[in-house]
Amino acid sequence: MAIVLNGTTGITAPDIDVTAQSTDIVTTGDISAVDATLSGGVYLGGTGSANYLDDYEEGTWTPVFEGSSSNPTCTYDNIQFGYYQRVGQWVHCTGGIRTDTVSGGSGNLYIGGLPFTSENNTITSTNARQAGTIGQAYEWGGKAPSALYVFELETRLFLYKKSSTSALSDDTQSLTSDLRNGTNLNGLHFSITYKIND
């Protein structure tokens, strides 16, 4: 049975229930609606798997300082925030962090708390890094971090600083000992876009 619409006044019923419809609904015209809820995804600009968008989400996350051997104990001030936006297999994160007190901790320094685990990268083995950007770093005890990235299968950002005062020097990992104890210190504002697995 088919319903053929060829008038100009449209359908005024509050809902059209097509849940029992087992075949595709096809139109060569436009579809206009206020909201659409899909349990699957949507193909955009083509019908290949590369055109398929199956997930979108936005929300918040909470960045925290972590150490490779032991985590520092920190109290954070009003700058401790993170936002994320997931579009398919890509996650864009921004964040800010600043401490009022720091004690303990040892080893390399990370920012933990990422909202999604990074992808299992098949390009290389362990050397799979996705880089982000530090917009501002201020009031650190040691050299402030100047770069960051996320390894594969990780929920932490690895922090890097210059190994010497020379701008041409290589990067070396930041340490928990680079943190300084005191009010409104160890400020960092950053962003990263990284790939995840479905």
């Binding site: 918040t60 996350w61 909470t62 909202p115 685990t117 083995s125 362990t126 050397n127 697995n197």
Partner: protein
Amino acid sequence: MALTKTVKVDKIEIVGDYKHVQVRTATIVSEDGVELSRSYHRHVVSPLDDASGETAEVQAICTAMHTQAVRDAYQAHLDAQAAELGD
């Protein structure tokens, strides 16, 4: 008119070789039972993380997923990362 705010874990995902547990917490504001807004906060529990602060449901999943074998494998993965970085 009754406004209510509900915070609950509404999605738990187990991801990857090392069974990272991705937790989504929803904050839902409703008026007389009709949802007005929903926002999300996310975090991930890694195999070596302390899950004692998680909800009972998340703790149970972490206990089931983060076996000693998984924890050892993830530690080996982290050690390989450290070796890659020359630590």
